[in-house]
Symmetry: C2
Subunit: 249 residues, 2 copies
């Protein structure tokens, strides 16, 4: 293993999400080894406030594809993993041991959301190092109750996102990212000027596909495609409503 | 690099958090290379709804240590990184480009929380592969407004947690974790029986330090130490109150 920082960084910088998978089988024991390794990711106070539901049966994947708005990778992957914030296991242990578990509120659920996401991303890191491809599907948030019913999640368990996994059909293309200075602040938050903001997004706005996205969606700017077509206010408001059932505000 | 799945998994399973760091300097360019690599982590719709504030100045670390309830690693590390859900950069771009950004609600903030946590954990994965040690500090949640002021975070930016980083003073010990069947469910959520729950926590309850924790805290069970001493209801309720300022419920 080459652990020279520049080489390690180059390896991680070259990653990309995979949406099309080969037929190569992913054995259960390989998947379990990766999940077990990922469970050594950091977790709040070693409480592991998360669960993952592994879906592999074709009928189940067919149902989940509908819930995921028809995305083809749901039935084209080797396994679909739905990561959940889970306050239930810990609180049931507390109940059995006469302890007052105080996580039944938004603070508790937010802790579990962070725990579950750390575990999920460590799963992705380990899986990708093993030559697997992955893609996050955020569409879970659009129908929390539908996923809850489909996966038979009990009270205290909130689905967050799915990750499709399998061997890549082709080498993934790394995505463009904002320049580092857009996301990293030194000592305190340096609120960017309008010119800074324009510079951060300049490469993305001048990329050939930007013009295509704008034309296809009949919009005037790339930001409108992101904010009004892909992630519109109506969807975010529906997500917000759905979250109320789980965050107990 | 050895990418045989069992070897990769063993490497990740052996990790542990590091709270004591050596004096070996962490150069700015090494840290920036790792952050840049981590920014290729998955992100919702390539929006990168996150920021990180890097604190290195001793005076700043002294202030942050107070906010982090005195934890010694804050001043003992080479750099303290505070990861934030950030809706501001994207929404300002939208404003400049006449796009209606609909993320100013709990749905938008939850998307940003997941984005920021994925980025943070990818930072940890890359840093650890480079031989660095890291530890998450969840204490940010206990005083969101204090961190907001200290780091000069504007509206739309929510601090989530800090990560202390540096070269480890000693090889970290891997933490025990629950058995895999406690966190992994096949096809649907298998709600455990009471006996299952007891089996999941049995090793932890019978470990030598469990008896010590119980005695030190004058409690009857290990679950009481976790739920009533370390993460009591009063703290979670205070976190819940603090979240309201950022989740806009």
């Amino acid at each position: 293993m080459n652990t020279k920082p520049t080489n390690v960084a180059a390896r991680f910088a070259a990653r990309g999400s995979v949406r099309v998978f080969s037929d190569k089988p992913l054995e259960n024991n390989v998947l379990d080894n990766i999940l077990a390794a990922a469970s050594h990711a950091p977790t709040t106070g070693n409480m592991q406030l998360y669960s993952v539901v592994v879906s592999r049966r074709p009928e189940a994947l067919g149902q989940l594809r509908k819930l995921h708005q028809g995305q083809p990778c749901v039935t084209g992957c080797q396994a679909l993993l739905t990561f959940c914030a889970d306050l239930r296991r810990f609180s049931r242990w507390c109940e059995l041991r006469k302890a007052d578990c105080g996580f039944d509120n938004a603070g508790g659920m937010m802790t579990a959301v962070v725990d579950a996401t750390i575990f999920a991303q460590q799963f992705v890191a380990v899986a990708e190092e093993c030559g697997l491809g992955t893609v996050y599907l955020g569409t879970v948030m659009y129908d929390l109750q539908g996923f809850r019913r489909q996966l038979e999640l009990p009270e205290g368990v909130m689905p967050l996102f799915s990750i499709a996994v399998g061997y890549p059909a082709a080498q993934p293309q790394p995505s463009d990212r904002l320049p580092l200075e857009a996301v990293v602040h030194r000592e305190s938050y340096a609120d960017p000027s309008d010119a800074d903001i324009e510079a951060f997004y300049a490469a993305r706005e001048s990329a050939p596909e930007a013009a295509r996205f704008i034309a296809e969606n009949n919009k005037e700017t790339l930001a409108q495609v992101f904010a009004e077509v892909r992630y519109p206010r109506s969807v975010n408001m529906a997500v917000t409503e759905g979250l109320k059932d789980f965050l107990h505000f």
